[in-house]
């Protein structure tokens, strides 16, 4: 499922030709991705420009994270905060340098701004001052991350200033998407400073290629994990992936297995061939069950009980039966809601006693469930339901250290989207900040991150993996 325009854009001559002739052809930037298991220093030798205002509270966490991940920090921060970079710099051989020491022609792989100190509207000017000169210097597939604080309980003006960051980042995502870069806001609750490291590490890495234009909330609701592993995060963990035979499910099973998990690959008995083949190739277990069956949860629970419980559950199985509601038959409505939502609800209930401490549940929502989509009332209803389902389940299971989240893919290049008529598909691909569809691996990477111990700051949330869909939350 290749995208002709992305492929064309990889050819520098074609790119130059299209641009010089002024042809109205978008040439999306091929995204830099990272395959293979997590690395200890995912940002090795990356140039990261760091900005902060006085009163910024996440600078120490940021300094530690960047140096340990292998990045070279270039600072534009108040002198009183620069000291935080010295120790980590010494430890990892990543001494901080002044931003103006970066050569005029050098590109920055990431721009990170700690805006937690911004408490009024005037303070937002610092955000402009930092990004205005730098945004044109962002490297291809670069990263922008802004750090902020939650607005609840804040003074009205502070709340306004912090919420302004949200709109800022969403718009910036659309501006930098041209070069394959992403922009996200990380909203860190008081007391969650120690949990922001893994989130930054992920968002700044090439593994978050299709995550852009959204806030990511980091809180303290689930139990903190002391020193979450940086590599092989899922060693000794048992994972279940439903709908594993192909597409996002297959990519997820592979990605979880690459991080050390034993993956139970579940799909319909009719897909036994590809499911078994996948399970064999990743050293997992194949399980045949139809999620539409009422007794599927019991069957899954039996299998997982035999393995001693489960640490990661990925509810990926899902179907589309698109029709405008006027033309939709009732059984089609039922079928989609049954598999995409009811099955998730009852399977989660059946697996609840089997979830081990610090388990992670990841459900698949969809951009359609958030923004709506023509002809998908049934699908969007089921996927919209997921958003609240994870929020409520997260609350229920938080005391057991279990985090529950959803990912909402946008246009992903799968068998499902390949079936869309070519004209519509072509438009759908371009309707995002990155101007292209995502790969199943892009979703798998986000799921794997949410399944990892280091995602202990995130629960009850829905993360979009949509490349900054034109219409989207």
């Amino acid at each position: 499922m290749s995208d002709f325009l992305v492929e064309l854009g990889k050819n520098p001559r074609a790119r130059a030709l299209v641009q010089s002739l002024g042809l109205p052809i978008p040439l999306p930037q091929a995204l830099k991705r990272e395959r293979g298991p997590w690395r200890e220093r995912p940002l090795a030798d990356a140039t990261v420009a760091v900005g902060a205002t006085s009163g910024a509270e996440l600078v120490p966490a940021l300094a530690e994270c960047l140096a340990a991940a292998g990045a070279n920090p270039y600072l534009s921060v108040p002198d009183s905060l620069a000291g935080s970079f010295r120790g980590p710099g010494e430890t990892f051989g990543r001494p901080p340098r002044a931003l103006h020491a970066l050569s005029e022609t050098a590109k920055a792989n990431a721009l990170v701004f700690d805006a937690t100190g911004v408490s009024d509207v005037r303070g937002l000017r610092a955000v402009y001052d930092f990004f205005h000169p730098l945004v044109t210097r962002i490297a291809k597939s670069g990263r922008v991350v802004v750090l902020g604080r939650p607005t609840d309980g804040a003074k009205p003006e502070t709340a306004a200033a912090q919420a302004a960051l949200d709109g800022f980042v969403r718009s910036l995502a659309k501006e930098v998407g041209r070069v394959g870069a992403t922009a996200n806001l990380v909203v860190v609750a008081m007391g969650a400073e120690g949990r922001v490291g893994p989130v930054l590490r992920f968002l700044l890495s090439a593994r978050s290629a299709f995550v852009t234009g959204q806030p990511v909330f980091v809180g303290t609701r689930v139990r903190a994990i002391a020193e979450p592993p940086l590599v092989r995060p899922l060693e000794k963990k048992i994972a279940l992936v439903t709908g594993a035979a192909r597409g996002i499910g297959e990519a997820t099973a592979k990605s979880l297995a690459a991080e050390g998990a034993h993956v139970v690959c579940l799909d319909r008995p009719a897909d036994d061939g590809p499911t078994s083949q996948l399970a064999r190739s990743i050293g997992g277990t194949a399980l045949g069950a139809d999620m539409a069956d009422e007794d599927a949860p019991a069957k899954i629970a039996d299998a997982l009980r035999g393995l001693g419980g489960v640490d990661v559950v990925v509810h990926n199985a899902g179907i589309t039966r698109d029709r405008t509601i006027a033309r939709m038959k009732p059984e089609v409505w039922d079928q989609v809601l049954e598999i995409n939502l009811a099955a998730v609800v009852r399977t989660t209930a059946a697996l609840e006693p089997l979830l081990r401490e610090n388990a992670r549940i990841v459900c698949l929502s969809s951009i359609a469930g958030i923004a709506g989509n023509m002809g998908q009332t049934n699908y969007a209803a089921s996927k919209g339901g997921i958003v609240a389902f994870v929020r409520a389940t997260a609350e229920r299971l938080a005391d057991r250290g279990i985090a529950v989240n959803a990912v909402a893919p946008g246009f992903i290049e799968t068998r499902m989207t390949a079936a869309i008529p070519v004209a519509i598909r072509e438009v759908a691909r371009r309707l995002s900040a990155l101007g292209q569809g995502g790969q199943p691996e892009d979703v798998a990477q986000v799921i794997t991150f949410l399944a990892s111990p280091g995602a202990h700051g995130i629960t009850g949330r829905t993360l979009r993996v949509c490349g900054g869909a034109f219409i989207g939350a």
Partner: protein, 432 residues
């Protein structure tokens, strides 16, 4: 204090090495086995041992001859040692010489052996230039069985383009990163903010100290003269420059990067040479009436990600070896570090002195400590003496053991960095 096994302790009773000379000079016609033979025969002569006393040879090497990789055994056979003197060869990149010594010590402590010769050698001048695997694979049908004319044609068709089948210049590059070691060290210099001036000053000190040691006769006991096949006797190390200065080194051009700080002057040179160490169990040494020079208290080997800071290993290995010996850095009288590059030694020293480094990388509250320059590499190091890869560890053990025995100092800490992101360290202690 030293690691005991049934009360046994491995001691160093002597050490002899060949002069170290620049590759493609006097020793060009001596391969690594011949160099090893020269060092071991010098050692045997000096120790006054009967041949049959030597039970085993453990030898270290980096560039091993492809068809005779077990050079330890070849040395024993060439020297007509007792046929019962077995031998094995170890390789741990630049820590191979130390690896041979600690492997011998482990055999002795376990009670398997009483008298072992350990050491190492390398001859960069005799590195085999290999044909690319593509050629070897293509030629296989001709080497095996009876080739038909069509086989010959098949081979010819596989041997294009010609650039892919030419023998490659041998290069000491990391297999995983493709970087030659100087490039990695160049990056370390930048990342640890080691200036050109500091590197050059360190290199000059190495040369001046080595020159002073040579002039004072300090190495006379440790070096055996070697006659080259051309008949020339080589008595002294060939790379040491007594007359070098910071001003002279400042004129050299960067060797690994255009805007770099590493030069031929502050990097160790490709060198030919061998070094050997005689180890015994303490009881055996006493029974033979030999006073040991030093005991091996502890050792440690570590690995780091080659893609990160390739040559930082000693910063992790040295504290570990100290812990195992029950010592702190400030208790140690002498520190001897292999000088692959001045930048690498200075980077490691910086890490040892860093509190944040100790907390994050070693899990301890306090920095390991500052190394007193007056105790560090007191007779120079690899920058001045040269670095025949497999020999360096054995040279360091010999020089430090002699220093402890001569001066009455108590302890010496050794640190070596090696390709593959390896680090090695050992602690020697005086034997009273």
């Amino acid at each position: 204090m030293s690691k005991q096994n049934g009360g046994r302790r491995a001691v160093v009773v002597g050490g002899v090495r060949t002069p170290f000379v620049k590759a493609f000079t006097d020793f060009t016609k001596l391969d690594t086995i011949a160099l090893g033979v020269a060092a071991v025969s010098g050692l045997l002569k000096k120790a006054g041992l009967r041949h049959r006393d030597v039970e085993s040879i453990v030898w270290g090497g980096v560039i091993l001859p492809p068809t005779q990789p077990n050079i330890a055994r070849e040395i024993a056979l060439d020297l007509r040692l007792d046929p019962g003197c077995e031998g094995h060869t170890v390789t741990r990149a630049c820590a191979s010489g130390l690896q041979a010594v600690t492997a011998a010590a482990a055999e002795i402590e376990r009670g398997n052996l009483d008298v072992v010769i350990a050491g190492g050698s390398d001859s960069t001048s005799n590195a085999t230039i290999a044909l690319p695997p593509k050629v070897v694979h293509a030629l296989a049908p001709l080497a095996l069985g009876k080739p038909s004319p069509s086989d010959y044609l098949g081979v010819l068709s596989q041997l294009t383009p010609i650039t892919e089948i030419l023998p490659r210049q041998p290069k000491i590059a990391e297999r995983t990163t493709g970087e030659v070691m100087g490039e990695s060290a160049e990056r370390m210099a930048k990342r640890n903010e080691i200036t050109r001036e500091a590197q050059d000053a360190f290199a000059v000190r190495s040369h001046h100290r080595a020159a002073a040691a040579i002039a004072s006769g300090r190495f006379d006991d440790e070096i055996t003269p070697v006659q080259s096949p051309e008949g020339k006797w080589v008595h002294a190390d060939g790379l040491v420059r007594a007359d070098t200065s910071v001003d002279k080194l400042a004129k050299l051009r960067p060797a690994f990067a255009k805007d770099g700080t590493l030069t031929a002057g502050n990097s160790s040179a490709l060198t030919d040479g061998a070094a050997s160490v005689l180890l015994m169990s303490e009881e055996k040494a006493r029974a033979l009436g030999i006073k040991p020079l030093a005991a091996i208290s502890s050792w440690s080997y570590v690995g780091v990600d080659p893609a990160d800071q390739l040559l930082m290993g000693p910063a992790l290995a040295m504290p570990k070896a100290l812990d195992r010996a029950g010592l702190k850095l400030q208790d140690v009288d002498l520190v001897d570090m292999h000088e692959a590059f001045a930048a690498q030694v200075l980077s490691v020293l910086k890490m040892l002195a860093s509190g944040p480094f100790a907390r994050a990388r070693l899990g301890r509250d306090q920095a390991v400590g500052e190394v007193d320059p007056d105790r560090l590499n007191i007779h120079g190091g690899s920058l001045a003496l040269g670095h025949p890869f497999g020999a360096t560890g054995a040279r360091m053990v010999t020089t430090m053991a002699n220093e402890l025995a001569r001066t009455g100092k108590r302890t010496a800490l050794l640190g070596i960095c090696a390709a593959g992101g390896l680090g090695a360290a050992a602690v020697l202690e005086r034997v009273d």
